[in-house]
Structure formats: structure tokens, C-alpha cells
Amino acid sequence: MDTLTELLGGFAAAMTWQNLIFAFLGCLLGTIIGVLPGVGPVAGVALLIPLTLNLDPTGSIIMLCAIFYGTQYGGTITSVLLNTPGEASSAITTIDGYAMTKLGRAGAALTLAAVGSFVGGTIATIGLVAAAKPLGELGLLVGPPEFFALMVVGISLLVALAGKSMVKALISGALGLLISMVGIDPVAGAPRFTFGMDRLLDGVSFVAVIVGVFGLSEILSYRKNAETPLVHAPGMRSLLPTRAEWRRSAPAMARGTGVGFGLGLIPGMTGSVSSLLSYAAEKKFSRFRHQLGKGAVEGVAGPETANNAHANAALIPLFTLGIPASPTIAVLMGAFLQQGLTPGPSLFTEHSDIAWAIIASLFIGNLLLLLLNVPLVGLWTSILRVPTPILTALILLFMVIGAYTINFSVFDVFVMIGFGLLGLALRNLDIPLAPMVLTLVLGPLMERSLRESLEISQGDFSVFVNRPISAVLIGLGVLIICSPLLKFRKPKALTEDPEA
């Protein structure tokens, strides 16, 4: 079957009314998470995983993907209207977005951001379709040693996510590996780190850990901002950009797509890098660069296109190679694994129907976001009027219910709370959480493929360098790990990336 037939099959599967509802709900919830200033995309996706656990794999992943890119758009709304970015990747949008609001062009800014997001997201998804088939065909070439090498590349991204201190990143990464070891040994069957507790035989629940470490700790460390100002949603009329604004946005969107797509493919880059670089590109190339900072449409259209192109492009390494490029994607990958789907080359050979349905739903989701967001701007802004104490209480309640429903056991609620406190402690110690989620997700896959590889080679470690694909991948991993030694300094914007 060629790509188009399979994609059409995917559309047929994604267009069942259940799956459409899941995509719709995902966009809705994602946008809400994006609008809420205290809850970032990782926490948001983590928070909502329990909701999707009992759905069938297709519906569940469709919903989570929709949540994921929904957050990217939601962050824009507060950036433009309130000068407060809902997400780090929309931070740069505040400059011209809020300036436009002051000029009375808030509606136009939001519409252009939505259209830009749609354009960027759709083009990136087309890229995924194009890449899926050739990379998926590599599936059978990837045996246990190659899979292990892929996981080495994945784990080496820890370097890129490290932030300020490598030692702290390693502490976090080791902690993640340790947690992933709890439970029955996946090969020999002996219980590990269970302390005689039957509850731990099945391992520590991934979802409870994620909800705790990211969701709960984020809420607990939430510092009350200044009073949220009263916002007035722009009227329907002002939503339409003028002809001149459209004309000026188009090249910015094209540049944003390029920047976001390219950077999204590079594991370890976060969406904020894309939006920052897109803004920089506008400063350099736009014909109206002198107006940037004073409410230029390019300053909204470019970065917003870029962060959505980035979000969708980042799904390419996940789907085709099983490498989670950012913390949010790592959480998403965890959700795949919960559903019995291993993202990577074998996804398209073993579960091609599900994979294509999800890809098709990415197109649908991007369209839904566009339709959903522009007319409903008033609704989103009204969420901000809910007082913070009530909002956080509601989120807390939601997390407890979410943790409970994983197995209908109070034990998981305590696991969630315990890991929430751990997450809070790590945050206070300035230890990044991203490496932990990376190793937590990749650890078990890495262990399994390592042991299978060594059985194939009968204990000989050279199996990883004797096979061309795995040798190249291992080399790449080593290169990434050594890159900080090469005085390859990151730009300042990167080291202070709040998402990392």
C-alpha cells in the first residue's frame, strides 16, 4: 500500500465520531492548559493522561496529541491579551502581541496566530507523512542492538536538556532510571526494589509518578502572581485582520514554518527556541523590521507559526525512531507505552492502522484548533477570571482523582503525592526534572534491548559497534554526550530555556 492509501485509511479511522470527539476534547483541554499561566505543557499532558487511560489506544493517543498541540496555541491567548505568556514557547509573542492589543488589534493578532499555528502544524504533519514510510520501512533493519543504540541517542539528549548543571542533570537522570527499575525483572522475573511490597511488583505507576513530579510539584511551587487584570475579549468584528496584515504575515509564517520544522526535528530543542529564533529571523529579514516591538504582525505570526510547526515536527522522531525530543514528548511516549504501543520503527509495521489514524487526526486536530480558537477567545479569557485558589484546588482534586483511577487504588494516590513532594524538593534544589522523565520512559526499553542484544551476541559487547546502523547511532550518541566538552556553547536563550 502506498502512503496515500494508508493515510486515507487513517482518516477513515480518525473520523469516527468517537475519535473526533477525543480530538475535539483534546484541543479544548489543551487550550485551557495553555491559557492557565501556572501549568506548563509537560504538567498539562501529565495531568490529563489518566483521563485517556481507559480509552482504546487510538482514541487515547489522538486525544493526548491534541492536548499537546492545543497547549501550544492556548499559550498565545494570554501572551497577546495579558502580556503574560501561558507557555514558555509563546513568551516572545508578548512583545508585539501585547503591543497590538494596546493598538486595539488584539483580535487580528489572535486570528493570525491561529492561522499561523494551523499552517505550521499542517506543513509539519505533511513532513511526518513523507518521513513515515521510508523510515517505517527501516523497521525490520532495527534489531535489538540498533534499538539499544537509538535509546542511547535518546538518553544522550539529557545533555541538551541539562540546563545549567550537568551534575544535577545526571542526578535527575539516574533517579529516573532507578524508579524505572522497580518491579519484576523483565527478563529473569526476580522482583527488584520492591521491599517485599506486592503493590510494587508491577513497578511504580508511570502515570502517578508523572502526575506527581510534574503536575503536583508545579502546583505546589506556584507562586501567586500579581492580580490578574480584568480582560476584555475582543469582539467578533476586530477578529478579522486587514488585507495589509494578511499580506505582511504570509512571509513571516513561511519563515516561521521553516524555523520551527527544522528545529523540531532536532532532538533536545524546545519550542521556545523555535519561537525565539523565528522572532530573530523576522528582525533580520522582515521588510517591516523597524516596526517590531511596536505591534508588528510579523512578531506574532512568525513565532506562533514556528512553535506549532515545531510541536508537530517534534512528533517525527518520536513516531519514526522512538526518540522523545522534549520533556513533553517523553511524557507522550510514556502514554504510548501505557497503551502497549512502542513508538519507533516497529510502530508502522506492527500497528500501522493506529499510527496512520493518529497522523490523520493531527490534520483534523490542527483544523479543529483553528475553528475552535478564534471564535471562542472570549471563553478562554474568562477562565482567567477564576480566582487562583479555586483553580488550584480544582486542579489538585483532578490530580487525586486521576491518580486514583489508574488502578482504582489509593496506593497510587500516595505514590502521586510522594512524587509530588520529591518533585518540589528537586525544583527547590534546582535539579531539572526533564532528564528524569526521559530516563524513566527510555530506561525499561533500553534495558530490554540491551539484554536481548547481548543474548544475540552471547555476551559480546562488540555487537553494538560491529553493525553499521547501531555503530553510527552509538557514535552520534557519544558525539552528543561530548558536545559540551567541545566548548560548543549554547546561546544564552537556550541555557535559560524555561522548558528544559
Binding site: G139, L140, L141, V142, G143, P144, P145, G183, I184, D185, P186, V187, A188, G189, A190, P191, D198, L201, D202, G340, S346, T349, E350, R448, R451, E452, E455, I456, Q458
Partner: protein
């Protein structure tokens, strides 16, 4: 101030007591007459990953079970450790009928016998509900392999022990026992590679030529043979399989090896009688359903139903057999 605290503490205590009572009350009503409650779904735990024969069989049976029991049945995959993770989940579930599982021997029989595995369950932790199929073991090579007959392959493995890798679905699973029995009777030694998540991983690795020899069940190779992606050299059973009529048995080739996997369904021990009866009856209906049987045989699975009691006897017999064979597959320290 202190009064408020006391009141709050009291209220909290009352709340805890109330929820506690609620839980107790819920547990004591399990008599089984009202089983299954409308809207309460039954989990069917499959201890291997999706796509394998255990999973496929469970998913075929599932819709009929739903019809018979009048409630949702959800297939849940809990792969890992050659089935042990799923079996642990099954036996630690409440014996109220809302959790049942697919059980396959030898994995379920053997895992509690080896103390090194630290299994939390024994034979007595399961209540067998019915056997569905017996799936004989086969040995297959790559289509471009130089070995055309079983004898050629086994002789080569005898001349150069451990020169060829062979897949299993995990330590001490049916495939691993089959390899051990081959080694015991013929002296041919393969290097086992354990794909602990199940047959689909093992088959994928074989198709990618990452392992030389595929040791699997008839159902795993029926389709592969049709597509010319595997050459099955022998089947470890007394008679040829209707799904693979051209494949000679080990006996025909002069080797006395019989091995395979038997699969059925069980609940955690301690089911109320009424619940067990309902589940057993529904399973029998589902397993013997003509449409299900037909789909099963298309996949290379010959239905061979045994009632719960007979499945239990069969299980006990297997336990005796595998106890003797266990040293062959234990890790040598």
C-alpha cells in the same frame, strides 16, 4: 481554635470510618448471584504484548464473552518477564470475577517452580476456568537458509554448538523448554535469545534476520509460511498439524521431542461458586463458538476445549512434567 481543630479531626475520622464501611459493605456482598453487575466491566489480562497468539485468541473470545455475560470485557496487555508480570497482576486481583486472565503453560506452570524468579503466586493461586487451545512448537529458519531439513539444521547445531541464535518468548517459556528438550535428546545446542514481551517481538526480530532460528508455535508461523518468509523444518507434536500439512513432525525425522503451549483462561483463586460457574459457561460458549473456532484455525490454532476442572487436572499433570524438565532451563550459576 482548639475546638475547631477537634471538630475537624472528628469530621475527618468520621469520613474515614464511613468510607471504610463503604468498602467493607461492598466486599461482603460478593455472593455471585448478581454477577456481573450491569455497567461493571471485566478485565481480561493478557500477560503478553498485543499481536501474539495469546492476545489474538483473547480478542476473538472477548465479544462472545461480552454477549454471554452482558457486560463489557476489556483485554488488557501486561507483558514482561515471560508472562510473570501479567500473572502476578491476575493473581493479586480480587477474586470477584471482574478480573480474569489468559494463562498459558508452560510459562504459568513453571514460573512459580523456580525460586530464583521469586514469583508471588503458585499453582493454587489460580482458578482454571477452561482450556482453549494446544499450540504445538515448531522450529523454522530463514527462507534463504542453507538448511533444508530438520536433520541438516540439528546436525549443524550439534557440530558447532551455540553458533546459531534461536528466539524464545522468554526465559522458561514453552520455546525455551522446546530448545532444552532438543538439546537433551539430540545434543544440538542453539543460543537462546529471550524476547520476554512475547511472540510478536520474537517474530519481528526473526523477520529482520536478527536471530537465525525461530522457535515458535504453529500459529506464529502459519502466516509467515504462506508468505514465504520462514521455512518451517519441524513440528514438535505426535501428528502433523492441519495448518502446516507439509511440515514433518520431529518423530518422523527420528527425534523424540514433543513440546508446545497450552492456553486457557483462569481467575484468581477463591471465586464464589456462582461466579465461577457463570464465567466457565460463558467461556465454553465463546471458545466453542463455530465462528471463533473457524477464525482460530485460520490462524493455525486448533481449538481443544477442556472444562475448568479438566483444565485443572491437565495443569497439575504439566506441573509434574515440567518439574522434571526445569533443571534444563535454569540459569547455571
Amino acid at each position: 481554635m482548639s475546638r475547631i481543630k477537634i471538630t475537624a479531626a472528628f469530621a475527618a475520622a468520621a469520613l474515614i470510618a464511613l468510607t471504610g464501611c463503604g468498602a467493607n459493605a461492598g466486599a461482603s456482598t460478593v455472593s455471585g448471584d448478581d454477577f456481573p453487575k450491569k455497567g461493571k466491566s471485566i478485565d481480561l489480562i493478557v500477560a503478553f504484548s498485543s499481536g501474539g497468539a495469546v492476545d489474538t485468541a483473547a480478542r476473538l473470545v472477548q465479544p462472545i464473552l461480552e454477549k454471554e455475560l452482558g457486560t463489557n470485557v476489556e483485554v488488557i496487555n501486561k507483558p514482561g518477564a515471560g508472562g510473570q508480570i501479567g500473572y502476578t497482576a491476575l493473581t493479586s486481583a480480587k477474586p470477584d470475577g471482574y478480573t480474569i486472565g489468559a494463562t498459558g503453560s508452560p510459562s504459568v506452570v513453571v514460573s512459580p517452580l523456580d525460586p530464583a524468579r521469586g514469583a508471588k503466586y503458585t499453582r493454587a493461586s489460580f482458578q482454571p476456568l477452561g482450556r482453549q487451545v494446544v499450540d504445538p512448537a515448531v522450529i523454522a529458519v530463514q527462507p534463504d537458509s542453507p538448511y533444508k531439513t530438520l536433520k541438516e539444521l540439528l546436525d549443524a547445531a550439534k557440530a558447532n554448538p551455540k553458533s546459531m541464535t534461536a528466539s524464545t518468548t522468554g526465559l522458561q517459556t514453552g520455546e525455551h523448554f522446546a530448545l532444552a528438550q532438543i538439546q537433551e535428546t539430540t545434543g544440538s545446542e542453539f543460543a537462546p535469545v529471550h524476547f520476554s514481551d512475547g511472540a510478536s517481538q520474537a517474530t519481528t526480530a526473526f523477520l529482520g534476520k536478527h536471530v537465525d532460528v525461530l522457535v515458535a508455535n504453529v500459529s506464529d508461523v502459519t502466516d509467515l509460511t504462506k508468505q514465504g518468509k520462514a521455512r518451517v523444518l519441524g513440528i514438535m507434536t505426535a501428528e502433523r498439524s492441519p495448518s502446516l500439512p507439509d511440515v514433518p513432525t520431529f518423530k518422523e525425522s527420528g527425534y523424540d521431542v514433543e513440546a508446545g503451549t497450552a492456553r486457557g483462561y483462569s481467575a484468581p483463586a477463591g471465586l464464589p461458586d456462582a461466579v465461577a460457574k457463570k464465567l466457565e459457561a460463558a467461556l465454553q460458549k465463546a471458545i466453542e463458538d463455530p465462528a471463533v473456532k473457524e477464525k482460530m484455525s485460520a490462524l493455525g490454532l486448533q481449538t481443544s476445549y477442556l472444562s475448568g476442572a479438566d483444565y485443572e487436572k491437565f495443569w497439575a499433570g504439566q506441573e509434574e512434567d515440567f518439574k522434571k524438565a526445569l533443571p534444563l532451563v535454569q540459569k547455571k550459576n
